[in-house]
């Protein structure tokens, strides 16, 4: 816990995700905002200019923006007026506004209708965030913003080599279980695949499933799980190759092994009913101890907070070793940045937009977010003194233990939505045993090849 309080994985993440080309000097388009000399107002915000903020009101709600970040902004610029909009239909509401040249200044792009940021970037709608990352931090004017946040933010900010997206939250993904159940039964968290399946046998006798994921609304939880397992077996390069659409990346041995291992677990210890249940139904069953392990991220605890019974305590378990020669040692978990914020380049007040993000990245802004949403931000040390729930503490401990062995996120999810969508469809098919793991890999490869050939799809690459 101590290392965690010192900063959510600052050192840990820097090891695996160094800011590759973070300050690329070529990324200086016309959308750039000239920095002013005043460290208190580095973008030269005009308090007379109103600011419009649009927040996706999903799992995090929108109170963190309305009652916290916007209030801080108003405090900094007396008399400024802020228009706040909370919506679940980002695309429907905002696509026409961007096309019509009436974009809001700050946008939290999330949810099922999140817009295609690559397409928006191609049209020059997204403001360059490099001046933000290079601006002095709110808390320590001597320090740049980029030095106060997890380096993975800088990596994930890039579209076509420019810093355009701010990822604001940190989440931990692996297998989640009930620590109290394990304690009461005297079970140990399995470290190898043999221990994992042996536990499956034991639990079966008690009528508990070893593993389940929500097949109706959340098959992508299992796609993530399989991809992270593949990275555990073959290293992060496996996922980087998938993202870069490298030839035959889906037919790589670690991918096949990961799919095979999980399809096998599903066949032997799973229940096909879960293919037709949504995430809420599955998560309730998890809380009722009908399922031992559930593949998800650290937002689960806050999501289910009202339903957690007294004898249930969320805890995270790393993916067990699949082979004796996994590239990443036991304990590796995925730590990712998420929740996209962008500033409209052609909006009325891009300076205000950048300043708003700078305020979000202040200690006060980040700490308040964690208090309100029980989720961690990318700001180093901002969770200090916040009373975190048990599951989040467990995730922090797991991140400590993982050290440098952090599994990377698969970015084709945002880059090539069609490929990701197809993957979430195919994962159900292979897990149900209707196709073999080899066929799954072949199908995915075919789709990836089609995307690679499609000129209409703008290509992205990553090196880390």
């Amino acid at each position: 816990m101590t290392a965690f309080v010192a900063g959510p994985g600052a050192g840990l993440l820097s090891a695996c995700a160094t800011a590759g080309g973070g300050g690329d000097p070529t990324a200086a388009p016309a959308t750039s905002i000239a920095a002013s000399a005043d460290p208190k107002n580095p973008f030269g915000v005009d308090a007379k200019k109103p600011l419009e903020v649009v927040i996706f009101s999903g799992g995090y709600g929108d109170a963190y923006a309305k009652d916290l970040h916007e209030e801080l902004y108003k405090k900094a610029f007396a008399g400024v007026s802020i228009k706040h909009t909370a919506t679940q239909q980002i695309g429907t509401q905002l696509r026409p506004r961007f096309v019509g040249g009436d974009a809001p200044d700050v946008l939290n792009n999330s949810g099922p209708e999140a817009m295609d940021l690559v397409a928006l970037a191609a049209e020059g709608h997204l403001a360059d965030l490099a001046p933000l990352f290079d601006a002095p931090s709110v808390d320590e004017p001597g320090k740049k913003v980029r030095d106060t946040i997890t380096p993975a933010v800088l990596d994930n900010a890039k579209i076509d080599g420019k810093d355009l997206v701010l990822n604001y939250t940190v989440s931990h993904r692996a297998l989640w279980y009930n620590a109290k159940l394990f304690e009461s039964r005297g079970w140990a968290v399995p470290k190898t695949w043999a221990e994992f399946t042996a536990l499956g046998e034991t639990a079966k006798k008690d009528g508990i499933l070893l593993f389940a994921y929500p097949g109706q609304k959340g098959p992508y939880y299992q796609l993530w799980n399989v991809l992270y397992t593949a990275a555990k077996i073959g290293g992060n390069q496996v996922i980087i190759d998938l993202d870069n659409l490298v030839d035959n990346a889906w037919n790589a041995e670690p991918v096949k092994q990961a799919v095979t291992a999980w399809a096998d677990v599903q066949a032997k210890y799973g229940d096909k009913a879960y293919f037709g249940l949504d995430h809420t139904q599955t998560q309730i069953k998890h809380l009722q101890n009908e399922v031992l392990f559930y593949p998800v991220g650290s937002w689960i605890e806050n999501e289910m907070t009202k339903d957690i019974p007294l004898d249930f305590q969320y805890a995270i378990a790393p993916i067990p070793d699949v082979t004796a020669a996994d590239k990443m040692p036991y304990g590796a978990i995925q730590v990712g940045v998420g929740e996209n914020f962008v500033v409209a380049a052609k909006g009325k007040n891009p300076q205000g937009g950048l300043e708003y993000l700078r305020i979000m990245l202040s200690k006060e802004g980040a700490k308040g977010f964690t208090e309100k949403t029980k989720n961690l931000t990318v700001v180093n040390g901002a969770a200090e003194g916040v009373d975190l729930p048990a599951g989040l503490k467990s995730a922090a401990k797991a991140q400590d233990a993982a050290g440098e062995n952090i599994i990377t996120d698969a970015r084709f999810e945002g880059w090539y939505k069609e490929l990701f969508d197809y993957g979430t469809e195919q994962i159900n098919v292979v897990m149900a045993g209707r196709i073999t793991p080899e066929k799954f890999c072949a199908n995915m490869q075919k789709k990836a090849d089609a995307i690679k050939k499609d000129d209409a799809v703008a290509k992205q690459t990553r090196s880390q």
Binding site: V99, Q216, K272, F275, E425
Partner: protein, 304 residues
Amino acid sequence: MERLRRYGFVAGFLVVPVALYSVFVISPYIQAFQLSLTSWNGYSSVVRYVGLDNFGRLLEDEVFWRALRNHGLLLLVLPIVTIVIALFLSFLLNLGGGTRGAGMKGVWGSTFYRVVYFFPQVLAVAVVGVLFQAVYRPDEDGVLNGVLGRFGVEPVGWLTEPGLALWSIMAVMVWQAVGFYVVLFSAGMAAIPRDYFEAAALDGAGRVRLFFSITLPLLRDTVQVGWIYLGIAAFDGFALILVLAGDKGEPDGATTILPVTIYKTAFAFNKVGYASAMGVALFFLTVTFAVLTLRTTRRERIEL
């Protein structure tokens, strides 16, 4: 002058609705035709024309053909089953009681049944979807599986088995549609002069004979209308399938249909041009179906 005044009067009433129709129905159609020739992604201000490329792509698109196959099945099953059930029920409601006293009667309590049959029609599709999610739930908590479980039957994945999913959804569509057609056919049957039935009954015709020899032939036009409505419904199914089966055509594309594919292609994959091409294809499919049905079933009207 007299004529002009009369037409002017009629036209005055028509201008507003026709204008509204043109703006909100005709113009989007024309725009869809235009967009289907472009590679527009929904974001850019510049629209690039690609000619008929999108349609060429469509012919090689597995998902498109899978959707067509599913629409074909819907087109075969949905109208026939719905019409047969609706005809049977409305016959029972109107004439099934046989001759009693002055004329033909429905079975006992038919006014009550008529109202009950109409219930599903009143519910919004989304409500029906959520309702049947509970009915079809794949574990023992599902309504159907709960009942089956009492007889020792293992839970069935109504919406997750590729061989079952579309049939389960079609059952819901039929369930929802039947009430409307019962009312429609009842109205048609009420228009048939009672003495036809009485004469036939006096000659000793039973209920089956009454149905096939008198009711059905005289109801032909009404059934034809129902057939076209249901055929068009077979090209839709958007809301129900989205709620029950999701947008991925799960399982294995067994429930993939064009409207959902169009929605996804346009708004999730940002291929507005390609999605418009699908929309144009769907438009022609529907129109072709309607024209073909009207042509092949055209016949002399029977004067009553």
